[in-house]
Amino acid sequence: MTEVTHHSQVWSYRTPRARLLLWGGWLALVALFVFCWQVMTQNTIWYFVLDAPRQAADIGGRMVPPRWSYLPQLLEPLWDTINMATLGTIGGVIMAVPIAFFAARNTTPSVMILRPIALFIIVASRSINSLIWALLLVAIIGPGLLAGIVAIALRSIGFVGKLLYEAIEETDAAQIEAIEATGASGAQVLSYGIVPQIMPAFWGISVFRWDINIRESTILGLVGAGGIGLKLQASLNTLAWSQVTVILLLILVTVVLSEWVSAKMRHAII
């Protein structure tokens, strides 16, 4: 019996080849990072960066104590913000439902034409943030709540559409076939075979999107789309930092509350 000598007696975590690859990967990442850092900070004025702690202390000093007497003036913009999110969500969901049915492989009327169009609408709506939508819409239909509502709705199409069409594709084919076997028409199959199966997912997605929309609608006012963001913009422009504190705390409370409501509702539905 010959003794095996080429194996090392000490156990090691990785093979030499894997170690080399890992090392190379890390080196490439670090090199890329350093390169990007150099490009990014080319025009940075380091004086301002070094000055930051003093600026932070200055702003912090102006932010406390919060000016609580400003709070009553914020209630109406807050109501507007909540309405903007809710109406926008409703509009987005209404537009997203047909697009989701066009995009789902098992319900789309034409795989070649309508499905790619629906998928492109979903991707386009998802990749453009609601703030950018608002920026465009304020330029087109003027500042105000309507621009915010339409921006929220357009942004919601992608999110709701994507999750809904995945839910439609995951429906149980046996139930649909059972309805088809009774001689049901296409619309009846949709209504009795598919809709009951996706209903819980639909409500869950809508409530989840509503919660995200409340969060996003608080800042849409920064570009002129109404709501509490408008007050934030006004306070920032006049450097009224003690009012900014009140607004931020109010936004925080609203966001936490809406998250809680949406978690409760989703828990009750599913």
């Binding site: 975590y13 990442l29 890329l32 990072f33 990007c36 850092w37 490009v39 990014m40 900070t41 025009n43 940075t44 004025i45 301002f48 960066v49 930051a52 600026q55 932070a56 702003i59 109501w79 507007d80 309405n83 809710t86 109406l87 991707v123 386009a124 998802r126 990749s127 453009i128 943030n129 703030l131 950018i132 920026l135 465009l136 330029a139 087109i140 239909i141 003027g142 105000g144 709540l145 309507l146 509502i149 009795y192 009951p196 209903m199 819980p200 409500w203 969060r215 996003e216 608080t218 800042i219 920064l222 570009v223 920032l236 931020l248 936004i251 925080l252 966001v255 936490v256 539905i269």
Partner: protein, 268 residues
């Protein structure tokens, strides 16, 4: 019992609310809310009508995008956005790994756990744009403020999901490593890290994608990147350049989404 007691027509049973009274009450509540909410929306229809021409110009600009005349601004914005995305993801992930380990109840003592969870909660509660406003006020305009914003936002995202993942690891493997007399650091390296590494890589790639999308937004408040270019283009009413920028953003997001989902599948 006679058969006539049974209804002869079938009605679809309610799925969510079983009680009829509750359903009616909620439906009335929804109608009342909608009337009140729509009442608060003041629409200046003449302004909307005037804007339609502008909207048409924008759609035309989107269909015939102009890449060339502002190409220098666009390319500079793109370079800023892309470098900002990469550096902030790397730094954010590097910071969130220790915080994520600290926020896992099965690895960290109670007081460290609470500190780390508090950091995560603060980072998740604040909007990127609001953080960007503060960082721009502190560090001045430009991509450096954007880089800090995105790094800060990355911490909340990655650290939370990493901590939840560490809490769900297979305890048997950790127990086995512990039984060999391993130290805490060895435990993390040999029992936890192999179990969570694929997911951490997946999350980082996903966050890279999100950070690019966000980098196109925070430019609006002065934090550099393609968002600043877009904002300028819209302010100048150059809708054809704006259309070009939006198409570039959509294309990059699509490429990033597909390649990151492909990479995640490949790694798992």
């Amino acid at each position: 019992m006679s058969a006539a007691a049974y209804p002869t027509t079938w009605r679809r049973p309610p799925q969510i609310l079983k009680d009829r009274r509750w359903r009616i009450a909620i439906q009335i509540g929804i109608v009342v809310y909608l009337v009140l909410a729509i009442g608060t929306v003041e629409v200046n229809w003449s302004r909307v009508y005037e804007g339609l021409a502008r909207g048409q110009r924008f759609v035309m600009g989107f269909l015939q995008p102009d890449f060339t005349s502002r190409w220098r601004d666009i390319s500079q914005g793109l370079v800023e956005s892309l470098t900002m995305t990469l550096t902030s993801t790397v730094v954010g992930v590097a910071i969130s790994v220790p915080i994520g380990i600290g926020a896992a109840r099965n690895l960290a003592p109670r007081w460290i756990y609470y500190i780390c969870r508090a950091i995560i909660a603060v980072s998740r509660a604040l909007q990127e744009v609001i953080i960007a406003i503060f960082f721009v006020a502190m560090f001045g305009f430009g991509p450096f403020a954007g880089f800090l914003t995105l790094s800060f936002a990355t911490i909340g995202f990655i650290a939370k999901l990493l901590a939840d993942d560490i809490e769900e690891i297979d305890e048997a493997q950790a127990e086995a490593v512990r039984a060999t007399g391993a130290s805490w650091a060895q435990l993390v390296n040999y029992a936890v890290q192999p179990q969570v590494m694929p997911r951490l890589i997946g999350l980082s790639l996903y966050r890279l994608d999100i950070n690019f999308r966000e980098s196109s937004v925070i430019g609006i408040v002065g934090a550099g990147g393609i968002g600043a270019t877009l904002n300028t283009a819209i302010d100048r009413y150059e809708y054809d350049s704006a259309g070009a920028i939006l198409l570039i953003i959509i294309a990059i997001v699509m490429v990033a989404e597909y390649s990151s989902s492909y990479l995640r599948k490949f790694l798992q």
